[in-house]
C-alpha cells in the first residue's frame, strides 16, 4: 500500500471536512436546513477520513465501479518467474517475488520418546525464529492427485479387455488362458474402483518468503537468495533436506484446484457429504 498517497488523500478528505465544519459556524440561523446538510456532509468526510486507513485500496476500484461488482484487479494474481523458482506479483509499481521451501517431515510423534518430542518442538520453535523478515511456515493437508495413477490403470485395463475380447472371439483360443485374462480384467476393474472410491490425503510442510524489488529481476534474485538461505537454515535446524519448490510444485501451495484435484473432486464431494 502506498502510504504517501494515503496521506495525500487523508489531507484532502480531512481538509474538506474541516472547511465544511468551519463554514457551519458562519451560516446564518435562518438557513437552518442548510446547516444540517453541511454538518451531515462534514460528518461523512470525517468517517471517510478514518476509513481511508484500512480501505484506501478500494478508492480507485470504487471510482471505476460498474454495476454491483467491485473489481480490485482484473489480472491473474501471479505468474511464475522465468527461473521457475518463485511467483511474481506486480503491485503499485513494485515487483514482489515469493518462494516456497518444501520441508520434508516424515517422522510421526508415535515413533518419538518424550525427549525427542521436546527436542522436536524446541527445534520447530528455533526454525520459526530463523528469519528477521516475515516468513510463513505452513502445514497443509491436501487430497492426493491420482490422475496419473488412474490413467495408467485405465490404459492397462483397456489393453487387457482388448486381449480378452480377441480371445473370446477366437474359437481356437485356449479356454484356460481366456479365463486367466478375464480374471485380470476383473482385477483391474476392482483396483480402479478402490482407487477412485478412497479419498487419499497427504500432509506437507512448507515455508514461504517474499522479497520486494523495483524490477522483476531484482525481486526474483533477492527471493532466490533469501529462499536458499532459509532452506539451509531449516535443513540445519530440523535435520531434513529442505528444498526450494520449482515450477508447478508451487501451485499445490497456492491454487485451490490443486488442493482438491479435478479428477478426485466428485469422489471427494461424495465422501464429504456422508
Amino acid at each position: 500500500m502506498d502510504s504517501r498517497n494515503e496521506r495525500v488523500y487523508l489531507v484532502i478528505v480531512a481538509g474538506i471536512g474541516v472547511v465544511l465544519a468551519v463554514i457551519l459556524q458562519f451560516i446564518p440561523p435562518y438557513y437552518s436546513y442548510l446547516s444540517v446538510i453541511v454538518a451531515a456532509i462534514a460528518l461523512i468526510f470525517a468517517i471517510l477520513a478514518f476509513a481511508l486507513k484500512d480501505y484506501f485500496f478500494l478508492i480507485e476500484p470504487i471510482s471505476h465501479m460498474k454495476g454491483k461488482t467491485l473489481t480490485i484487479n482484473t489480472n491473474d494474481p501471479f505468474y511464475i518467474a522465468a527461473n521457475g523458482k518463485c511467483i511474481v506479483v506486480r503491485s503499485e509499481g513494485n515487483a514482489y517475488a515469493t518462494s516456497f521451501i518444501k520441508i520434508p517431515l516424515y517422522k510421526s510423534s508415535t515413533e518419538m520418546t518424550d525427549d525427542e518430542k521436546f527436542n522436536f518442538a524446541s527445534l520447530f520453535s528455533r526454525m520459526i525464529s530463523l528469519s528477521a523478515i516475515p516468513m510463513r511456515v505452513s502445514s497443509q493437508l491436501n487430497v492426493v492427485n491420482k490422475d496419473e495413477y488412474i490413467k495408467v490403470i485405465t490404459e492397462k485395463m483397456g489393453a487387457v479387455e482388448d486381449r480378452y475380447n480377441a480371445m473370446a472371439n477366437d474359437p481356437n483360443a485356449d479356454r484356460k488362458a481366456a479365463e486367466r485374462v478375464k480374471g485380470e480384467v476383473n482385477m483391474w476393474h476392482n483396483l480402479l474402483d478402490n482407487v477412485t472410491k478412497a479419498n487419499s490425503q497427504s500432509q506437507v510442510a512448507y515455508a514461504t518468503v517474499t522479497s520486494a524489488g523495483t524490477t522483476e529481476d531484482e525481486a526474483v534474485t533477492l527471493a532466490s537468495i533469501n529462499a536458499e538461505q532459509l532452506a539451509a537454515g531449516i535443513s540445519a535446524a530440523l535435520g531434513v533436506p529442505a528444498t526450494v519448490a520449482n515450477g508447478d510444485e508451487m501451485l499445490l501451495f497456492i491454487e485451490p484446484e490443486y488442493l482438491i484435484p479435478p479428477t478426485t473432486v466428485t469422489e471427494f464431494m461424495k465422501v464429504d457429504q456422508k
Binding site: 462534514a42 468517517i47 484487479n73 511456515v137 491436501n142 482438491i260
Partner: protein, 275 residues
C-alpha cells in the same frame, strides 16, 4: 494502536468536534439536537471502524449488494466470508480462521509448564489432524525481533514498575491491591527477561487456518466451507488458541498472503482484531 491509526482518528474526531462546536454556537434550536445526534452516530461509526471493521464492512456490502473481485477468476461474495474460485465447473470456496495463542498475562510465566506443553504438542497435533478429512492449511507467520532492543524495552518497563512500586510503598497510605499488581507485573517482566537471557528469541507471530471446500454452486461451496471451518475450530480447541472466523478486509488480505507475505510494519497495521 499504531501511529497511523492515531493520525486518522485525530483527523476524524477533529471534524466531529468542529461540527458539534459549530452547531452549539449557532441558534438552530431543535435542529442542533439532530446535528449533535448525527455527530454522535458518526463518532460511533468511526470507533466501530477502528475496533470492529469486520462487522461494519460486510454489513455495507450486504446492504449495497456488492461482490468484490480481488483477482481474475476470484470473487468475494457480499457476506465477505469466503474467496470463491470457479474452475472446471466447480466452485472452490476458501475461508480463514484466526488461530492465535491466547494473550494471557500469567502471574509468573513458568518454564516447566512450557516444557510439558512442548512434549505434548506433537501428539496433540497428530491426534487433531488425523481426524480431518478435508483440505486445510495451518499457517504461522513469524518474524524474529532484535534481542537487544526487546531486552532493553523489557528492562525499561520493569524499571518503570519498580519506580511506581517504590512510590506506592513510600506513600502515607499505600494501596495494597495496586502494590500486589505492580509486584506481579515486575515478576512477569523478570520472567520474560530471564527467558531472553536463556536463549529464547522474541518473535512476532500471526497464526491462522485456511480451508477450501467445493460445491456445484456458490452457496453449496460456502456452506461446505462453513461446516469445515466449524469442524476445524472444534478440533483445534485442544490447543490453547483463540479461534475467530475471519470476515471482511482481513479475509482479502489473508488471501493476498498466498502470493505476497507483507513486511512486518504492514502486518502490524493490517491485522488487529480478528487475526
Amino acid at each position: 494502536m499504531n501511529q497511523n491509526t492515531i493520525v486518522h482518528l485525530a483527523a476524524s474526531f477533529m471534524i466531529v468536534l468542529l461540527v458539534i462546536v459549530g452547531t452549539s454556537s449557532s441558534s438552530l434550536g431543535l435542529l442542533s439536537l439532530l446535528v449533535i445526534a448525527l455527530a454522535g452516530l458518526a463518532a460511533l461509526l468511526i470507533l466501530l471502524l477502528a475496533f470492529a471493521d469486520f462487522l461494519v464492512f460486510p454489513l455495507i456490502t450486504i446492504l449495497l449488494d456488492w461482490e468484490i473481485v480481488p483477482f481474475q477468476n476470484y470473487v468475494i461474495p457480499k457476506q465477505q466470508d469466503a474467496v470463491l474460485k470457479y474452475v472446471n465447473n466447480i466452485y472452490y470456496a476458501t475461508g480463514y480462521v484466526g488461530a492465535n495463542i491466547y494473550n494471557y498475562v500469567f502471574a509468573q510465566e513458568s518454564v516447566e509448564d512450557d516444557q510439558v506443553a512442548m512434549v505434548a504438542a506433537p501428539d496433540k497435533w497428530e491426534k487433531a489432524t488425523m481426524n480431518i478429512h478435508f483440505p486445510f492449511k495451518y499457517h504461522v507467520i513469524s518474524s524474529a525481533d532484535n534481542v537487544q532492543t526487546y531486552r532493553e524495552e523489557l528492562e525499561t518497563k520493569r524499571g518503570l514498575y519498580e519506580f511506581q512500586y517504590s512510590r506506592e510503598a513510600s506513600a502515607t497510605s499505600p494501596n495494597q491491591m495496586a502494590m500486589e499488581n505492580l509486584q506481579r507485573q515486575i515478576r512477569v517482566m523478570q520472567a520474560k527477561i530471564d527467558r531472553v537471557g536463556s536463549g529464547e528469541k522474541p518473535l512476532n507471530t500471526i497464526m491462522y487456518i485456511e480451508s477450501t471446500a467445493v460445491g456445484v454452486s456458490k452457496k453449496e461451496a460456502s456452506d461446505n466451507l462453513t461446516k469445515q471451518l466449524n469442524q476445524l475450530q472444534t478440533i483445534f480447541n485442544v490447543f490453547d488458541l483463540s479461534m475467530v472466523r475471519v470476515y471482511g478486509r482481513e479475509l482479502y488480505q489473508l488471501h493476498r498472503m498466498n502470493y505476497i507475505i507483507p513486511s512486518l510494519d504492514e502486518l502490524k497495521a493490517q491485522f488487529q482484531e480478528q487475526t
